[in-house]
């Protein structure tokens, strides 16, 4: 209890709270408990429970492999089996899209808390990160299973996978925070989010390789930060088969940082008025 400050706290209109980030740290237990709640509730009263975390990505992988690999006959990268290519794109995509969509609706979904107690609101859109990561780890098992099925062993590149996972989380939380803050005021965006995710699935190289985009367009294509994330994943998983397009990757990083800044800024600016409008 000692790290709870007993210093003076001043509340005033428009006053920036210097202690905000300290508060965020102090409320870390609430963050974990909200995340734990979301995890605990996710598969309540389902028959197969956590198995859903296996079934969904597996079925999507099968469908994408058949449609993009066998019917559309898109090229894979190097000699990698198409199913592995798809999974290496699908995993980060699922992680990002679930954090984004859960995060975007999170503040509105917790309106009861927002209007009754104080805590740094930033906790709310961040809690879905944990839920997304847990599902991600489960589906990682499928990836390694499929790789073993094809007799593939990951190279040293796989050690850098955590870096790309962190990047995927960063790509997701910027827009998630922005959308969460905006939806509180303008619920129109609730209808926009599923649409954005649907479009995102097709404009991101999930079911196909980013290499099929003509070289002249690569840099422009990398404005979509998912391109950097998925390329990174494929590089880490497929190793030398999928070289990283560095200028594009750097551009993705810049876009991600920009979205993160915008997300935090928007959220912090509107946060104090949440209880007025929710």
């Amino acid at each position: 209890m000692n790290d709870w400050p007993s210093e003076r706290l001043i509340l005033e209109a428009g006053r920036a709270d210097r202690r905000y980030w300290g508060d965020l740290w102090r409320y870390r237990e609430l963050f974990f408990i909200l995340a734990w709640r979301d995890v605990a509730l996710r598969y309540k009263q389902t028959v197969i429970g956590l198995a859903w975390a296996f079934v969904r990505p597996f079925m999507t992988m099968v469908v994408f492999t058949v449609i993009f690999g066998h019917i559309a006959k898109l090229p894979t990268e190097g000699t990698a089996p198409y199913a592995v290519l798809v999974l290496a794109g699908l995993l980060p995509w699922t992680l990002v899209s679930s954090i984004f969509s859960d995060g975007a609706n999170s503040v509105l979904g917790n309106s009861q808390l927002v209007s009754k107690v104080y805590f740094p609101r930033l906790i709310i859109p961040l809690a879905p990160v944990i839920v997304g990561l847990i599902d991600f780890v489960v589906s990682l098992v499928i990836l390694f299973g499929v790789m073993a099925w094809y007799g593939m062993a990951p190279g040293w590149h796989i050690l850098l996978l955590p870096v790309f996972i962190a990047l995927a989380v960063l790509v997701a939380i910027g827009p998630a925070m922005w959308a969460a803050a905006t939806i509180v005021k303008y619920r129109d965006f609730r209808f926009v989010i599923p649409f954005v995710i649907q479009i995102g699935l097709y404009v991101s190289p999930v079911g196909f390789s980013a290499k099929i985009v003509p070289p002249g367009w690569q840099l422009l294509y990398s404005l979509n930060p998912m391109v950097g994330v998925i390329d990174g994943f494929r590089w880490a998983i497929l190793g030398g088969e999928s070289p990283l397009f560095l200028p594009g990757f750097a551009l993705s990083l810049v876009v991600t940082a920009g979205m993160l800044w915008l997300g935090i800024r928007t959220f912090r600016h509107t946060e104090r008025g949440f209880a007025d409008v929710i």
Partner: protein, 430 residues
């Protein structure tokens, strides 16, 4: 170190509220209005303003120029009518709302209970909800762990602690929720109306717990409609009226001020007068003889009416109790039931009626008051002279609420002796 833990200066909070202009039946006009509203909302969004679903927008100050200080260990009641700004004040102090004007200085760890069971989730078990709710109220995990057994004991639901909350009765839910809240240990505590739950026995336990907290040297700000609780728990009272602080001082003075403002409200209402008499004011009284708008079933039912009479003899004072649907449910006439008439000496009289306790269903009620002359001619009639609410009605000890809306009438029939069920003699014969 200064001894002031809360200092509010010039505190104000403005809300924008919307009104709908009268609806027109003309389809064209409605369409035009809708289109205009849509354009206005789009413009609001582009400028980053909040959206308000209405045709006209008005500024409304829920709180205006409020100044006060609270010292360490002080327990203060905030009283006022509905909409006086009590909850807004607590929400600003607990950092949920941002003040529009003024500032607040707080020193010490703050916890606020604007409702109990905030964040409770029906799918989670009682145990899980204790941890969830504790964290939401700002308790650390080790604090909750250390007090876990106390919390469960206090709530009295240990048998169901691993049952999902959705299987709990309303009463069990409230008990569990209050128990978590009761074990908060912060230097400053804000409490809003949380005592209005549970059965009488549990309410008493909550009050005891509140006075324990108050005696432990912590500062408590306490909002309540329950004047008896306010008087029992606190020595200082702040009265709010239409967002302004109108009194700050000893609790007796605050209660008097509050009651006076209630009475003033009555007189402003002007009930007119009859030819020979006038009903001036009428109140339902609580156990302390203070006007109230709530009645607890099974407690003494005291009414006080002020009447002015003239020289006409044999005037009867009559009461008609109506339920929320305005259906008559009870009647009293001073002439016919008590063989007492209003005095024929001109003057103002105060009539006190102590009715036997009634076990009324929960819901809203009102009394119509009339003075009748001997010839059964209504002299002065005041409809809805007294309106009151029964917040909860529980004739048994299990958690249950006997509501008007159940359609089983408005009176819970009570037994004089315990229910007897035994094998029937006739049944045995056959």
């Amino acid at each position: 170190m200064s001894d002031t833990v809360i200092r509010a200066t010039g505190l104000g909070k403005k809300f924008l509220i919307g009104h709908n202009v009268e609806y027109s039946a003309m389809l064209g006009e409605a369409a035009v209005r809708r289109a205009r509203n849509m354009v206005r909302r789009a413009a609001d969004m582009l400028c980053g303003r909040a959206l308000i679903e209405a045709d006209e927008i008005e500024e409304y100050w829920a709180l205006r120029d409020v100044d006060f200080e609270v010292r360490r260990g002080e327990v203060v009641s905030i009283i006022g009518h509905n909409g006086a700004g009590k909850t807004t004040l607590l929400k600003i102090l607990s950092r949920i709302l941002e003040p529009t004007t003024g500032r607040v200085e707080l020193s010490g760890r703050v916890a606020s209970l604007l409702e109990i069971g905030t964040g409770f989730h029906p799918e989670l078990t009682g145990r899980e909800n204790i941890f969830l709710n504790g964290a939401i109220l700002g308790m650390r995990r080790h604090e909750v762990l250390a007090k876990f057994n106390q919390i469960v004991d206090f709530s009295g639901v240990e048998k169901f602690i691993d049952t999902p909350l959705k299987r709990y009765s309303v009463g069990m839910y409230a008990r569990l929720a209050f128990s978590v809240a009761a074990h908060l240990e912060t230097e400053i505590l804000f409490v809003d109306e949380v005592l209005a739950v549970g059965d009488a026995e549990f309410q008493k336990r909550c009050l005891d717990r509140m006075s324990e907290v108050a005696n432990a040297g912590r500062s408590v700000l306490f909002v309540s409609h329950n004047l008896a609780a306010a008087a029992a728990l606190t020595r200082r009272g702040i009265v709010l009226k239409s967002g302004r602080l109108i009194f700050d001082g000893p609790i007796d003075g605050a209660l008097a001020q509050y009651t006076a403002s209630l009475e003033k409200g009555k007189i402003e209402r002007s009930w007119g007068r009859g030819e020979h008499s006038a009903i001036v004011s009428a109140d339902l009284l609580d156990a302390n003889g203070l006007p109230t708008t709530t009645y607890v079933p099974g407690t003494p039912f005291n009414l006080q009416v002020e009447v002015e009479t003239s020289t006409l003899p044999g005037l009867s004072l009559e009461f008609l109790l109506r339920d929320a649907n305005s259906l008559p449910v009870g009647f009293y006439s001073s002439n016919t039931f008590s063989e007492v008439a209003l005095p024929s000496m001109p003057g103002r009289y105060s009539c006190t009626l102590a009715l036997k306790p009634l076990f009324l269903a929960s819901g809203d009620y009102s009394f119509d008051l009339t003075t009748n002359s001997m010839t059964i001619v209504v002299d002065h009639k005041v409809t809805n002279a007294i309106s009151f609410r029964v917040a909860a009605s529980n004739p048994s000890t299990i958690a249950y609420d006997f509501k008007q809306s159940l359609g089983n009438g408005v009176i819970a029939l009570q037994l004089a002796t315990p229910l007897v069920i035994e094998p029937s003699r006739q049944g045995r014969a056959a």
